[in-house]
């Protein structure tokens, strides 16, 4: 029973903390650029604002458009339930492993892309096409990175992954591959730009163009959660720590460290974003190809045992 409650608490925690990461990244970017910028809590205000606004739906859209935000949210939350935060054995652990995580994210993305096509707007089509393009090229890199990391434990189990383990050359390379994939999957510069609404360059934003109000809030929330999960994956590879003991004191300490390392990744992402320019869409293929090659090298290193 407590396990179920803790799992529930964990999902709530993901919902509560994940917008903060985006706010933090924006804040850091602004500070580096010598701007005052928006408050670090701005994503929360945005969510509240969107939740209280009335929605406008295109007359062309079908039920796919209405259902997609819920499916996207459900897939991201299901993925967050897989990641252990508080407890070693959550009852939902049986749901899948690291490989299943790839497929669970694909579910939400598939419906978002369909919803983008649903309104008949060319922006939606453009966004859907580009998003599917980028994500399909990101997939091999992600898969090989997971392979390389899991080769250390001999299984793709998330439990083994979440336990403390040694940092090797292989896992660092795998983390680098994961990082590139994460930049693509969370629509960050140099692959995409969350801040732009210029029709020629936007990818993820183009897909969401027809969304407003509460539906948009759900979608934003699910992309925050997805971002936090991907950051967690990288953080766990580079700063591996095990699960806490039963006592309360280590749990709270551990929990702080758990968040702190995710914040470190967020800071790195922010610095990468300010220091790079957005790439042309067709150069993304090379960028993600590089992630794939890094994944291969990581597998080679895992093979050599370093």
């Amino acid at each position: 029973m407590t396990k179920t409650a803790l799992t529930f608490l964990q999902i709530i925690l993901f919902i509560a903390v994940s917008p903060f990461l985006s706010g933090l990244i924006t804040k850091i970017k602004n500070n580096v650029r010598m701007r005052k910028g928006q408050s670090i809590w701005q994503p929360y205000f945005n969510l509240l604002k969107l939740f209280s606004k009335q929605e406008v739906v295109s007359g062309t859209a079908s039920w796919i458009f209405r259902a997609a935000p819920f499916i996207a949210l459900a897939s991201c939350l299901a993925a967050s339930a897989l990641i252990p935060v508080f407890i070693f054995v959550s009852p939902l652990q049986r749901m899948g492993d690291l490989l299943a995580l790839i497929f669970i994210f694909a579910l939400g993305r598939f419906f978002m892309a369909l919803a983008a096509l649903d309104t008949g707007s060319s922006f939606g089509g453009m966004g859907a096409s580009r998003e599917m393009f980028i994500s399909s090229l990101a997939e091999p890199g992600l898969c090989l990175a997971i392979f390389a990391i899991s080769l250390q434990f001999g299984s793709t189990s998330i439990l083994a992954f979440s336990a403390s383990h040694a940092v090797s050359i292989s896992s660092v390379l795998a983390a680098a591959a994961l990082f590139l994939v994460t930049l693509a999957e969370t629509s960050r510069i140099p692959v995409d730009n969350q801040e732009t609404h210029l029709e020629l360059t936007m990818v993820h934003e183009a897909m969401l163009l027809e969304y407003s109000g509460r539906s948009l809030a759900l979608i934003e929330l699910s992309s925050y959660i997805k971002q936090m999960i991907l950051f967690f994956l990288i953080a766990q590879v580079v700063f591996p720590i095990g699960m806490p003991g039963a006592a309360l004191a280590p749990i709270s300490l551990w929990f702080l460290w758990y968040l702190a390392r995710i914040l470190i990744i967020a800071v790195v992402v922010a610095l990468v974003e300010v220091s790079l320019a957005k790439m042309r869409l067709f150069r993304v293929a090379d960028f993600l190809g590089f992630a794939f090659v890094l994944g291969i090298i990581a597998v080679v290193c895992a093979m050599l045992g370093v």
Binding site: T60, L92, G96, G120, S122, L144, V299, M303
Partner: protein, 624 residues
């Protein structure tokens, strides 16, 4: 020598199950597909291609006869216990499917597709005959079980030759790249319920052949067999899905996906051979389960998708996605079934394709963590390519479903479409149901497939564990790895409902229905929508090294200053046709022209030939 024994071991029974589970809904579907009053909307002026499908009573009877004979011949193929019976059934199956491909004789395309098909399939059969004769020469029997025993003493060299012959022979039927050339022509040309049988089931008989004759009968003894199959499978996956992305004929798109999925099935089968040769029994069984699971899944969702595509064709008279759109409002049920099929084939949880692709990836991973050396890297790269295929397939089905069913209709035909008749819907419903069931009851199905895999590899499963219970998969060698699709489905539904609850909590104000944002342009129409060609443009450019796209543009001018309209065409170079088959066909014609010299039309010369032949025969008889 010729006995009519049939085999009913688990392998044959499994394939019989696959054949009949797809034949049943196809048969039900065809009732509505050919019913004259099925599409009232297509009367009068509209009368597109669908009108041509109205067959006379006699022709309909013929179609039913061919359908039954087709199913029966496939059933005989997978149960024959004798090579000669197998070959006979194989030929009957090929010929009947040829007749089904050219059934719509009114269409020029059908004849051409049929020609390519029958030539390719007979080239394949020739290789099979060669392989079987070599087997006979060594084993002195046509009985599969006798050959199986005799094969243990077969020299490795001979085994290798037979393997290559079998691979080419069955590969042609399965549509392995580069022998896939006939598949995208032939499958779409047949009536839709036949397409679903051909793509869903017929090409699987080739996989049966590979498992039965290579793994079961011949026995795998060198690991390069498996590696060769893996390489071919990876190429098939990628080539199939990339061509599918470029396609905007909905049935051809599905046919190319068959090439891709045969690749995924062969990944499982090839891995299994690889592990058998390296003496890793657990992984051999595990990989074969993954392959067989994907086989039955592909039969189900590809059958379903072809039936849905047939419904779209029936309702609109076109297979060109660029002329469709908005069908989700006109044909909500067909759209829903197509969505289920698309989710299945794109490996989205919790449906069946997800389970089998996960199993295949897991097999790769378990393999990579237990082999040593370069093989580890090889398996890793194969898995990466499988992931890429999965991503591209999802993109392709976003396109297929999005362009066909969503947004505004792009032509009048699509605008006037109506939902199809009850029996057609029943066929699709049945297969959609199976798509979901095969996703949820994974543990149970894997346990059954383990028996099939054990019977075909001859490995005792004994205490091997593949699933925890009927809902949860868990490979024995990987600690703590689980996959429970029902739990995942439950969690997804609960969380989705929770999301909906929050959504409702923040106010019950109904959304305002307004038009799509049009940048201030006053009239947004279906002409502004993204098309299938536009959707696949990034892929066309990224894979341009392989696709070699070219385009033609033409400006039609009213005057020098005024461009009235603009013609834009884009095509991709069919690499295999242009660089492999065209030169080959040219060579055949050239040698035929050369040979023609011996046939100048002179009666004297012909008499001389006869005399020479007689002379040679006499000498031959004397000598031997």
């Amino acid at each position: 020598m010729l006995n009519f024994n049939l085999l009913f071991d688990p392998l044959s029974l499994f394939f019989l199950f696959v054949i009949f589970i797809i034949s049943l809904p196809s048969a039900i579907y065809s009732l509505g597909y050919f019913s004259p009053k099925a599409n009232p909307c297509l009367s009068g002026r509209q009368a597109p291609a669908a009108e041509k499908d109205k067959y006379s009573r006699g022709k309909l009877t013929l179609l039913w006869f061919l359908f039954v004979a087709f199913v029966a011949s496939m059933a005989l193929v997978v149960t024959a216990a004798n090579l000669l019976i197998f070959l006979a059934a194989w030929e009957i199956m090929s010929l009947i499917s040829y007749f089904l491909v050219v059934f719509e004789t009114g269409q020029e395309k059908s004849i051409q597709a049929g020609l390519i098909y029958i030539v390719m399939t007979h080239i394949g059969t020739a290789f099979l005959i060669a392989a079987f004769l070599l087997m006979y020469q060594h084993c002195h029997s046509f009985d599969i079980l006798v050959i199986k025993n005799a094969c243990q003493a077969m020299p490795a060299q001979l085994k290798n030759i037979i393997f290559i012959l079998l691979l080419v022979g069955f590969g042609t039927k399965a549509g392995i790249v580069p022998l896939h050339i006939w598949l995208p022509y032939a499958h779409p040309q047949a009536p839709s319920h036949i397409s679903s049988l051909m793509s869903g089931v017929m090409i699987k008989t080739a996989i049966y052949g590979l498992i039965r004759f290579v793994i079961f009968t011949l026995g795998v003894n060198s690991s390069w067999w498996g590696m060769l199959i893996l390489v071919l499978a990876v190429i098939s996956c990628l080539v199939g899905v990339i061509y599918a992305l470029m396609e905007h004929d909905i049935k051809r798109l599905l046919a190319y996906h068959s090439v891709e999925n045969i690749g995924i099935i062969l990944l499982g089968v090839g891995l299994s051979m690889f592990f058998i040769a390296r003496n890793m029994p657990y992984l051999a069984i595990f990989s074969l389960i993954a392959g067989l699971y994907h086989l039955v899944n592909h039969a189900i969702f590809k059958g379903l998708l072809f039936l849905c595509a047939g419904s779209v064709y029936k309702a609109t008279g076109t297979r060109d996605m660029e002329k469709l759109g908005g069908l989700i409002k006109k044909m909500p049920q067909t759209a829903f079934y197509f969505l289920i099929g698309s989710m299945g084939i794109s490996a989205l949880p919790p449906l069946n394709g997800f389970v089998s692709e996960w199993l295949t990836l897991q097999a790769f991973f378990l393999g990579a963590s237990s082999v040593i050396g370069g093989a580890k890297l090889f398996l890793g790269i194969c898995a990466g390519m499988l992931a890429l295929t999965g991503g591209l397939a999802a993109a392709c089905f976003v396109k297929a479903f999005g362009i066909t069913f969503l947004a505004e209709p792009r032509s009048r035909r699509a605008e006037e479409a109506r939902e199809v008749s009850f029996s057609m819907k029943a066929g699709m419903l049945f297969l959609s149901f199976l798509t979901v069931i095969f996703g949820l009851a994974a543990g149970w199905i894997v346990a059954l497939l383990a028996k099939v895999a054990s019977a075909s590899t001859g490995i005792e499963i004994g205490s091997m564990i593949f699933s925890l219970n009927i809902f949860t998969l868990s490979p024995q060698t990987a600690k703590g790895v689980y996959l429970s699709t029902p739990l995942l489905a439950l969690v997804l539904i609960v969380l989705g409902m929770a999301g909906f609850g929050v959504y409702m909590l923040f106010g019950r104000r109904k959304p305002v229905i307004y038009k799509t944002w049009d940048c201030g342009y006053y009239k947004l129409s279906s002409r502004n929508e993204y098309t299938a060609t536009a959707f696949s443009k990034p892929f066309r450019i990224a894979f341009s090294f392989f696709l070699m796209p070219y385009r033609k543009t033409e400006k039609i001018r009213g005057s020098f200053y005024h461009v009235k309209s603009f013609v834009y065409e884009t095509h991709t170079t069919p690499v295999f046709k242009k660089y492999i088959y065209a030169p080959l066909v040219a060579l055949v014609f050239k040698s035929a022209r050369f040979m023609r010299r011996i046939q100048p039309g002179s009666i004297h010369l012909y008499l001389a030939y006869i005399f020479a032949a007689l002379l040679l025969l006499i000498i031959f008889m004397q000598k031997f």
